[in-house]
Amino acid sequence: MELTSKDYKKSARKAIGDPVLQSALTGLQGRLGPATATLYKNLPEGPGLRNMAYQYRRKAVDNLDVMLTTLAENIRKQGGEVHFAPTARDAVDICLDIAAGNNVKKVVKGKSMVTEELGLNRALMDKGIEVNETDLGEYIIQLAGEKPSHIVAPAIHKTRKEIGRLFSEKLGTPYTDDPPTLTWDARQALRKKFMEADMGISGCNLACAETGHITTVSNEGNIRMSTTLPRVHVAFMGMERIVANLEEHQAILRLMSMGAAAQQIGGYVSYIGGPAAPDHVDGPRAFHLVIVDNGRSRILADDEFREMLCCIRCGACLNVCPVYGKVGGHTYGSAYTGPVGAVITPLLGGINEAGDLCQGETLCGACRQACPLQLNLPRMLLALRSKLSQGDPKWNVKPKSRWEKLLFNGWNFINTHRRVYDASLAIGRVIQKIMPKSEQMLTKLPYPFNGWTQSRDMKPLAAKTFMEQWKEKKEGRS
């Protein structure tokens, strides 16, 4: 997985200083967050549906072997082909083989997180295949050469003026900053791409094992276009994105639509179970499903994190997270952003490599409330932090900082030894006299404590502790 999570702090600082991004994020969270919460409150089945939905997902994940073999069997019966890819490399190779075997020159894609994770676009383009993202947001960032910054609204960080300039430069259309006109420009450019494409690539929101279908959800209709018009359809699914029954599928699909875009149901939902039959007048002549592990089986094996495989990637947690609301999506350094990214990115891409992500979150619990399945993200963030601090050979985690550990041991010692504590206070009071101050606050501590004052001022130590004052008062009275 391609990660730029190491630049977390630097990217976060940049994002916080960007007024355009800040207002976009505030707008997004102000609209979607509360709207989703209202829909949860008015569920016809009552709030219990969310608990049930978690149970459905958990059952599927706990029996993933049966789920996947049932799905594969049913799709094959319907004439589709199913491929299993243990690694990202395998998944990409399978797709390249299908492309080569079908003489594919042009590809249209519906938005898919897992293909972002696999780095599929680059691999296809390296083979000389033209790849067009077709979700409007994804198309914009593909033209701009950027990365998605929100699971559902990938181009939320771009203004209409920026998009106007981008389109007039890349598409040769007259400059405008009018969203309907810009949308029409993209509609026109992409319509041609849909018609010409040999292969359509989609993700899979949630498969249904008993019927043998994957589902795709969109509001633009781009995924229906990508999976109806080209002669070959290749769908990628993370191996955990499955549920047993149609009735369970229905409940989760509705909750996902609420979490993703505050809708009762997405505008276009397609159940796809295979290629077009010989007597069907349209639809792809070949259908391939690529089921991807790429690190998920390791999460499955760990009781602490298995819950994360129930996630349906709706992005509801992004719309309420106070950290995401400030640092934006790019800071997370992978396709998965926000609270979900802070847990899944380290688990898929390396806990040390993406260590800053879980430490950046506040553990406020807003994500858990917003999650349609009420996944306990704060618990998993804490578990990741614990691995970073203690190390874990099972996850190849090295303890993040020996110094930090030493420091906390020292802190522990000072606080459990009264005399040492008093002496440290006395020394501290002397040292702080020469520290830089502003408005009675310390603005800069010396190394190794300088990190603490990097983004906040600190109150100086009081001249006397409470205990000392108490003692004096008592003595004064007696």
């Binding site: 299993f84 633009e220 276009m225 397609s270 639809g283």
Partner: protein, 248 residues
Amino acid sequence: MDMEKEFIKTIQTALNRPETKVPDDLFTTTPSPEEVTLLEKIRTRTDPERQPLIEVLRRVVPGLHMDLHVEESIQDVARGIEKLILEKKPEWGTKKSVVCWDHPLIKELKLTDLPNLKGIDVYTTSMAADSPRRREEIRKEVQDSFIGITSADYCVAATATLAMKTRPGHARSVSLVPSIHVAVVRQVDILADLRELYTLLKWDEKERKEGLTNNLSLVSGPSKTGDIELVMVHGAHGPRELHLFVIP
């Protein structure tokens, strides 16, 4: 195949099989008592009982940017569609043509008999036998048409959702590629909510036998996007307008 075996084996190891057993009730094989009741309710629903559902539809469609036309007869629908064909402008060129599903209800419209529509091509997505040439022809006709006319298996009132299975003659692209999608449904095919739809799809004998088909599309409103500064725009890639005609 080896890769597949390996893949499933890795999962089984992670799940600690065979120590952890596969539960017996992973997949449902009989409907719950509530589902049986619901099925009965749908089957025995009378026309007067369906009127409130049409009122629900009326309330829901404006929010989804859909147009609802409740008509008395198929002739009224034909006149309504004729009006759309005459009034609306084609998006991609100047020529007006229309494409229809090969479907009994849509055939009843007899659009080609309407004198005002003389000179306007009305295509039907019918194919006698597996023919790549005919398929290519249909593709071009769909692409050229500015209005696509379909029916639907069901229409869900609470969410204004059209459920369309794929069958010969029912081209998927007719509800997708033309700028305006017109759907004609009978009142008997209106359901109250998604739960009713899924209960039918799952347990109704006829539905079970047919399965979901290779492609079941649920469509709630025309194509839309909010990807530029969250401004809602209709007609991102699919149809810009969706007109739903309901007849007794």
